[in-house]
C-alpha cells in the first residue's frame, strides 16, 4: 500500500489487515481514508442508483462516486447514462438539483449545454473557439463502465476489469431472490428515503450490517418492545446455534441468511399478503414463490450497497471523511404486489431505520463509541476472530454461525486486495 497521504510513514496493507483482525488505523487515519476513496470507491464496482429513479426520458438524479459528483440520467432514446457532473469548459457542476427532469443540462456559468447522454449540444458564441473546435470532443465525461442488474445500476471508474456479473458472483443470486419477490419481476424506487449521518468511519456501518452477533445486545430494548407488541417472544434468530448463517461470497460481499430460524410468515388471514403470494405463485410456481417469500436475508454488496428484504429496503453508504459517514435507506416497492403490502413496508421503515427510530440509532451510537475508543494507541487491533475455527466452504461461499464474523473477514480480504493494488 502506498504511504498515507498525510506523509505519515504508515504500515502497508498486509500489516494493517490480518486474517482475524484489522488495525485501528483503518478507522482513524485520514491517509488510509483518502487511499480508500482512490483504490476502492473510485475503482471497483459501486452502486449508483436504480433505473426506476429515472423512469422518463430526461429524468436525472445526482449522486457521487467516492469524491466525484455524477449524474444518473435517462436520455431521450431511453438509454441510462452515468456522467461526471463537471462542465467541460471551466469545471462547474452542471446540475445542482438532487433530481428532476430536463432534456438539457445547462451550465449556469457560461451557458454550455449538454443532452442527457452527455453530448455537448450548445456553446454560446461558438465563433470564439475558431474552426478547429469540435463539440464531439467536449461532451460530459462518461463513467468508463456502467452495468446494471435487475435495474440496480453499478459503475466503475476503472476503464478495464472484470464485468459486473463476475464481480457480484453469488451475490447476484441473492439479489435476484430479493427482486423476485415482486410479482411483476421488478422493484420500483419511488417512496422517498431515510437519510442519516454519524460521526465515525464508513466501515463500522459496513461491518455492522452483516453482524449477527450484536442485535441481542445493541437492540435489546427494541426487541423487547416489538415482542411485547406482538404478544410473543422466544429464541431470537440472532443467537448462536439458531441455524441462521453468516456468509462471505468473495469480493467483499456477504449475507446473513436466516434459513429456518426466521422466515417471513404473515398472518394467514391477511388478505394483502395472501394476494401477494397468489400473484407470485402464478409467475414463479409455488416452490420458488415459497423460497422467495420465506427467505429472510440481509445482503451486503461491497463497498456501498445493503439489502434487507424483510424490511423491504436497501441502504447506500457514502463515506464523507475518515470519521463521518452518510447513509441513505430507500424503501422499494414490489411491482405487482398489492399497494397495502408496499405501503406497510414504507411505514415500517420509520420504526427501524430512521434517525429517530427504535433500532438503527443504537447502532450509530455504537459506531461513535468505537470511533472514540479506537483513538487509544495502547491497543492496535480490532478483532474479527469469531468463528474462524468453525467456518466451512459450501458452493463458493464461506459459511458460519449467524453470530460469527465470517462476512467481516471476507470484507477485509477484499479491502486488502484492492488497497494493495497499485503499490510499486
Amino acid at each position: 500500500m502506498a504511504r498515507p497521504a498525510d506523509g505519515d510513514p504508515g504500515p502497508a496493507s498486509e500489516v494493517l489487515v490480518r486474517e482475524d483482525r484489522v488495525h485501528r488505523r483503518l478507522y482513524t487515519d485520514a491517509g488510509v481514508f483518502a487511499l480508500e476513496l482512490e483504490r476502492i470507491f473510485e475503482r471497483t464496482w459501486v452502486f449508483v442508483g436504480h433505473e426506476s429513479e429515472v423512469p422518463q426520458p430526461g429524468d436525472y438524479r445526482t449522486t457521487a462516486i467516492g469524491r466525484q459528483p455524477v449524474i444518473l440520467s435517462r436520455h431521450t432514446d431511453g438509454s441510462v447514462h452515468v456522467l461526471f457532473n463537471r462542465c467541460m469548459h471551466r469545471g462547474a457542476v452542471v446540475c445542482r438539483a438532487e433530481r428532476g427532469n430536463s432534456t438539457v443540462f445547462r451550465c449556469m456559468y457560461h451557458g454550455w449545454m449538454y443532452d442527457p447522454s452527455g453530448e455537448l449540444v450548445g456553446v454560446p458564441f461558438p465563433g470564439g473557439y475558431g474552426d478547429g473546435f469540435d463539440p464531439a470532443e467536449w461532451g460530459l465525461r462518461r463513467v468508463p463502465r456502467v452495468e446494471s442488474r435487475r435495474g440496480f445500476v453499478f459503475a466503475s471508474l476503472a476503464p478495464e476489469g472484470e464485468g459486473l456479473a463476475e464481480h457480484l458472483g453469488p451475490a447476484a443470486r441473492y439479489l435476484d431472490l430479493i427482486v423476485d419477490a415482486a410479482p411483476a419481476g421488478e422493484v420500483v424506487v419511488r417512496a422517498g428515503v431515510e437519510r442519516y449521518a454519524y460521526a465515525a468511519n464508513w466501515k463500522l456501518q459496513a461491518e455492522n450490517l452483516l453482524d449477527g452477533y450484536h442485535p441481542n445486545f445493541t437492540h435489546q430494548v427494541a426487541f423487547e418492545i416489538a415482542e411485547r407488541r406482538r404478544g410473543r417472544s422466544g429464541r431470537r434468530a440472532n443467537s448462536e446455534g439458531s441455524g441462521a448463517t453468516a456468509r462471505a461470497f468473495g469480493r467483499g460481499h456477504g449475507a446473513l441468511h436466516y434459513g429456518a430460524a426466521r422466515r417471513y410468515a404473515p398472518d394467514p388471514g391477511d388478505p394483502a399478503a395472501a394476494a401477494h403470494r397468489r400473484a407470485l405463485e402464478e409467475r414463479l410456481g409455488p416452490e420458488r414463490a415459497e423460497e422467495v417469500l420465506g427467505t429472510d436475508i440481509q445482503l451486503f454488496v461491497f463497498p456501498n450497497l445493503f439489502f434487507q428484504n424483510a424490511r423491504q429496503h436497501f441502504r447506500v453508504l457514502r463515506p464523507v471523511a475518515v470519521d463521518r459517514t452518510e447513509v441513505e435507506a430507500y424503501p422499494y416497492a414490489l411491482s405487482g404486489a398489492p399497494d397495502e403490502v408496499n405501503r406497510r413496508q414504507v411505514r415500517g421503515l420509520a420504526w427501524w431505520a430512521s434517525s429517530a427510530a427504535f433500532g438503527q440509532p443504537d447502532d450509530l451510537e455504537a459506531f461513535e463509541r468505537c470511533q472514540a475508543g479506537l483513538q487509544v494507541t495502547a491497543a492496535d487491533w480490532v478483532l474479527f476472530a469469531r468463528g474462524l475455527h468453525r467456518e466451512r466452504q459450501a458452493a463458493g461461499e464461506v459459511v458460519g454461525d449467524v453470530t460469527d464474523e465470517v462476512p467481516q473477514r471476507g470484507m477485509y480480504r477484499e479491502w486488502k486486495r484492492l488497497m494493495a493494488d497499485g503499490d510499486a
Partner: protein, 191 residues
Amino acid sequence: METPEARSRAAGAGGAAPPPLLGRAEAEEFLYREARLLDERRFEEWLGLWTGGGRYLVPGGAGDDPGEEAAIVDDDRATLADRIARLRSPAAYAQSPPSRTVRVVSNVEVAAPGAGPSADVHSSLVIFESRLGQTRVVAARCLHRLVAEAVPAEGAGPASPAAGGGLWRIGLKRVRLVDWDRPQGNLTFLL
C-alpha cells in the same frame, strides 16, 4: 389560513351565537406547556396531552403521506407510548445519556381546519439539544391539530370554554424539519 376572527364573523353571520374559539393566547399556553413537559422529560404527562387516535409525524419528504414517502417518525398513540418506554430505558443507548433540550416555540397562528370542534395551530420550533458535550440546533415548522375532548379525569389540565368546557388534546402533530432533505443525526429525543 382562516383566522379565528374571520371564523367568528362567519359564524356570527348566521344569526346564532358563535361558539367560543381557540385564541392565540390559549394556543400558545398549550404549546408552551407541551414544550416544558418535553424539556423537563415529563413524558408520561406529555402523553396525556394526546387523543387516543393521535398521530405524531415527522415527514421525511415534502409530502404528508408516510405510506408514500418514508417518514422519520410515523407514530400512533401506542407507538408513542413505546417510544416513551424506550426513553426511560438505560439500554436505549442512543439516549443514554439522554439529550437535554431547550425548545423555543414561536410564530403561533391559529387556523381552522373546517368542521368539528378542532383547530389547527401552526408554529415555529427551535430546539437546542445538548448531548455528550455537543449542542445542536433543530429547526422545524409545526402543525398541531387540537381536538376538544370531554374532561376525562381530575388534574388532566385546565378546561377550556373554547373546547366546549373540555380539554384540548393533540390529534395530530406534524413536525417538518427545515433540513428534512439532509442526512439527520440522532433524533431519538422527542421533537
